[in-house]
């Protein structure tokens, strides 16, 4: 059902964990539907480059794999470049997802956006094109 890449990212997820005093944190999804993703960002104040990115996910195999891949894709990018990491990019990097799991990649995109939004709010900056998170249940 899952591609080898998805299984690899599920079995050996990259960047699992928390970042203490993270520059931005975003949590999306809800437990009712069975998927929650939280993304932590550590952003360089000067260059706005994402130096570190970690995630925690409650969800299915695809939810874990898309979170893992999303953190890999935004790592080392500036916050402006990170905004351009779409769910499609996440899916392609994973060699595709079963149709019923496409929503997991959307959730991963939203989680990144939510973390960027949190960063922007805390640092009083505007990231062009970034909208407030739709499903942020974090409220922290």
């Amino acid at each position: 059902m899952y591609s080898e890449k998805v299984m690899d990212h599920f079995t050996n997820p990259r960047n699992v964990g928390e970042i203490e005093d993270a520059s931005g944190v975003g949590t999306v999804g809800n437990a009712k539907c069975g998927d929650i993703m939280r993304i932590y960002l550590d952003v360089d104040e000067e260059t706005k480059v994402i130096k570190d990115c970690k995630f925690k996910t409650f969800g299915c195999g695809a939810a874990v794999a898309t979170s893992s891949m999303a953190t890999e894709l935004v790592m080392g990018k500036t916050i402006y470049e990170a905004l351009k990491v779409t769910n499609k990019a996440v899916m392609e990097a994973l060699d595709g997802l079963p149709p019923v799991k496409v929503h997991c990649s959307l959730l991963a995109e939203e989680a990144i956006h939510a973390a960027l939004w949190d960063y922007a709010q805390k640092h009083n900056i505007e990231i062009e094109g970034l909208e407030p998170p739709k499903a942020d249940i974090g409220d922290e």
Binding site: F10, P13, G34, T57, F58, G59, C60, G61
Partner: protein, 394 residues
């Protein structure tokens, strides 16, 4: 061969080699159509009769009350749709429960579209139907009560005898989906006041695609499948002779070893439940502790999601199932777990292990040992667990 521990016997079971051996002659040399007149067909015809006798004897029915079907879903459809048709002048009200198999629930939804009224009874936290609520739900236009014998997910055995008595007292027909119960626990249709019963061969080491429907002689439901004179013109289609032979062979074997196997499985079940609840925190058993199928274990682990758990178990060679949304193919977790009152996020973390007579203590120890590691790993990745730990510091 890679390690394989099969613990999904409520989904299907392995065909017993001895059962296959009895079936083979009817796939090979005795391939005749048992409805044919020539003597070549007599052997197949006799085999079908013999199988019918064996099944009837097991549930205390008459031979002509047993109809061979394709399995449990067909029986459920037959009971509901044809009772609805037969008794539509008496009334259009059907009573069932919220934890039935979808073969019953979706058929009820279909009947609702046809203008029938269905009452879905609640169950308590263990999944038991309330007899009081059942009796209260009966109306003058109630034509059928359909309550499962034992639940496929949480293993709870319903108070079938009492339900049968209530149905009989009120003159309402009673059908039970006994797919998980037949050949696992004793059933006598007269003692339990059962009017109709559906069962399926592959749930007790028989072949797939074969089952039977019991219909009391006094009930004259019409055919669900039209087209021939088989099964006293109530179920058309050339007899699946090898399937029928296999169904009866598997049932005879299962009933003959029932007491011994049930005891063995229940001991192993209880041992596993005890180990899991003792060694893994934030776990709870679903289903009735006592009135429970001997081979069913269903446990929820908080803060984790079922599909992830199943994939990790699979990587260790363990076949299990879950009631999470991802495994149910919808956004909602299992309707059974919701009906016993579990919140969504807990229902997503359910694990069902269903044992067979082949399951050993070593198997279950291997499962629990691996499960501990898997649950810990998934919790370490879970934002729900992270929040819980922050809110509840040790």
């Amino acid at each position: 061969m890679e390690k394989l521990i099969y613990l999904d016997n409520a989904a299907t079971t392995a065909l017993k080699p001895s059962v296959l051996k009895e079936m083979l002659p009817y796939l090979e040399e005795n391939y005749s159509n048992p409805s044919s007149i020539y003597s070549f067909a007599q052997k197949a015809n006799a085999a079908v009769d013999e199988a019918r006798r064996a099944i009837a004897e097991i549930i205390g029915a008459k031979e002509n009350e047993i109809y061979f079907t394709s399995g449990g879903s067909e029986g459920d459809n037959w009971a509901l749709k044809e009772t609805a048709e037969l008794l539509k002048d008496k009334g259009k009200h059907i009573i069932t429960s919220k934890i039935e198999h979808h073969a019953v629930l979706h058929t009820c939804e279909y009947l609702e579209h046809q203008g029938y009224d269905v009452t879905y009874l609640d169950v308590d936290e263990n999944g038991v139907v309330s007899l009081e609520a059942l009796e209260k739900a009966i109306r003058p236009d109630t034509i059928l009560i359909s309550i499962m014998f034992a639940n496929n997910e949480i293993g709870t055995i319903e108070p079938v005898k009492e339900i049968g008595e209530i149905a009989s007292k009120h003159g309402v027909l009673f059908h039970t989906d006994a797919v998980q119960a037949f050949a696992h626990i004793p059933i006598n249709v007269d003692e339990l006041h059962i009017d109709m019963l559906s069962a399926s061969g592959h749930k007790f080491h028989g072949p797939k695609g074969i089952g039977f429907f019991y219909m009391r002689n006094s009930i004259k439901l019409g055919a669900l499948i039209h087209g021939g004179a088989q099964e006293r013109a109530r179920r058309a289609g050339t007899h699946n002779v090898p399937g029928i032979v296999g169904l009866a062979a598997a049932a005879k074997y299962a009933v003959g070893t029932m007491e011994e196997n049930a005891k063995k499985e229940a001991e192993l079940r209880d041992y596993t439940i005890e180990r899991v609840l003792k060694e893994i925190p934030y776990a709870r058993l679903n289903g009735d502790r006592v009135n429970r199928l001997p081979n069913n274990i269903n446990i929820c682990f908080r803060f984790i999601e079922g599909e992830s758990m199943l994939i990790m178990l699979d990587q260790k060679g363990i076949c299990a199932s879950s009631g999470s949304a991802c495994t149910s193919g919808s956004l909602d977790p299992s309707h059974v777990l919701l009906a016993i009152g579990l919140p969504h996020e807990i229902a997503h973390g359910s694990l069902r292990l269903t044992l067979s007579e082949e399951t050993t203590k070593e198997d279950m120890d291997y499962v629990v040992d691996n499960l501990k590691v898997i649950i810990e790993r998934l919790r370490s990745m879970s934002p729900l667990y992270e929040d819980f730990v922050k809110e509840n510091p040790v």
